[in-house]
Symmetry: C2
Subunit: 351 residues, 2 copies
Amino acid sequence: MTVLPKVLVVGSGGVGTISALSLCLNNRSDVTLVVRSDYDKIINLGYTINSCTYGKLEGWRPHHVAKSVAHAAETFGPFDYILLTTKNIPDGPTTCEDIIAPAVTPQSAIILLQNGVGIEDPMIERFPQNVVLSGVSLIGSTNYNGVVNHKRIDSVFIGDFRKEPLPGTDKVIDTFIEIYQNKDRSLNQIDRADDVNLTRWTKLVYNSVINTITTLVDLDVARCQINGANDTLFKPAMKEIIAIAKSEGIMVPEETIDKMIHIGDGFFYPPSMCVDRRKNQLLELEIILGNPLKVARKNNVDTPILSTLYPLLKMTQFKIKEQIGQVTIDENDYTGNSDDYPKIFAEKNAK
Amino acid sequence: MTVLPKVLVVGSGGVGTISALSLCLNNRSDVTLVVRSDYDKIINLGYTINSCTYGKLEGWRPHHVAKSVAHAAETFGPFDYILLTTKNIPDGPTTCEDIIAPAVTPQSAIILLQNGVGIEDPMIERFPQNVVLSGVSLIGSTNYNGVVNHKRIDSVFIGDFRKEPLPGTDKVIDTFIEIYQNKDRSLNQIDRADDVNLTRWTKLVYNSVINTITTLVDLDVARCQINGANDTLFKPAMKEIIAIAKSEGIMVPEETIDKMIHIGDGFFYPPSMCVDRRKNQLLELEIILGNPLKVARKNNVDTPILSTLYPLLKMTQFKIKEQIGQVTIDENDYTGNSDDYPKIFAEKNAK
């Protein structure tokens, strides 16, 4: 009897559920999915899946469903792989490190199947002995209350975040690709990223610009383009991202701009961050825009558009935080010189 | 019997009603106020006024109330003065020129008691024989359904827009100040602006920056300041406005920045443009930000923040226009290359 590698999938949105489905169907790993809000529903009824590659499934469940990461670790662990597919919001109530901590053992490889750059730094700092991998996903998939609509083949690039790999990392990556890649590449496409940074910054050309701007004005991409945003904002802001990457020696090709600008031509859709805003959910602002701008400042890259977008979106994030009760404002606290307000706020909202 | 000068006040918001009240109480002019939406109510019941300078008045009406500018011109004209206190929205359904046109005679002096810069150009082009004056108002006054709350003394600076005044302009200004300035300067303060441009650009230091940014993020001023906006956006953007003014030879003192930043310290309030956004009313974007940026481009002034804010706010304005039905989008019209969408939109929404 072969013991199958154990995979914990954390995050049961559109990405996590299809990842868990791919892994299960490939039948080469033992899959546990953490399902928080829908736990009872999924235990009883399973998922309804409408997938462009896996077809229509009713009542589907992975091998194990856990109600929390701690529950998963106690009941179904220890895990060889922890695949993290949640949003990454360092300024939210719980960091990604805290989320997965209960399941991390010395043997767990951690895969961050998430957007943004700089997300590995706090993870490696927290778990310095663990392999930490980058996953960049291209997928069109949503999960509303247990109904998963999956519209684009699941395509993932996996690579090591570390420039100096921990011993055995290569084997860890190979094995994960083997258990994730289905026999037929028309089902999913799991590939090794030759250059993790190039892959991540390339995706950022879209996310740092189109996610952020559509969110700020609360309009879908096409409506922004109708207003000339391709020329006034999208293209010049994308140039800024490419310049920041270049300052780190990461050469994102200029043609990426044209590709990203036209990737949704003819479709009226709000990007994920814009959807988050509409749902009053916290934005992945820091990893998508804050971290790139830290690099820009470090390397003295001029970013007039992105540097204006960022404080505006910080305020949008603040508005969401206030609406969901993560921060509170007592108007009586703010008197006197308004230059002092940020300090007063920091003191009042200190953890 | 002396024939009193006839004044037509167009726009019955917080500014227009208090102007009409000041003029009436001073008893040196014959005042007609155009009241569109509340006409029947005001004719029957008059205004309820809570004024910091004129006290509490119930059922107040000016000498004449007209339901439109045309009605005013036919019934109570011709007018010596047309005091325009509406919002100035050149990209709205009706331009200011069209609004007042039915009442303009060769003898009418036109006073634009409005925000922004460049507002005189289309007015002078349309009415080249008429005196066109600048009015800059400092007042805290709102009118909700006939209830006017007036919280700050009505203070107005009047001056000529033209560098080469039409003959008789000086007398026209003097007379207007005489009929508007109440005997006691504790009631109102109507003064001649020595330098019309300086007055207008000074006010723009606030409006172009704080009105626009609070509108974009839909937060009041203090909440922006809590998030550090004084340093990240307000002060640097105000410097851009001062630099644009300087490129035209208009020397707005640097101290204006500090004054404008701290003018509302301790108060949580949304500026007028932010209120307009919340009410889904069109924004005075072009005269407050679009026109200054035209000057910046003409004179090659670098405006990284303002140039980013403008296309973002154009999209906010578009969103309002779509919601109130001023523009319509048929999603099927937009296929193919998204760079062509602005052209398609212009063709579909041509007048």
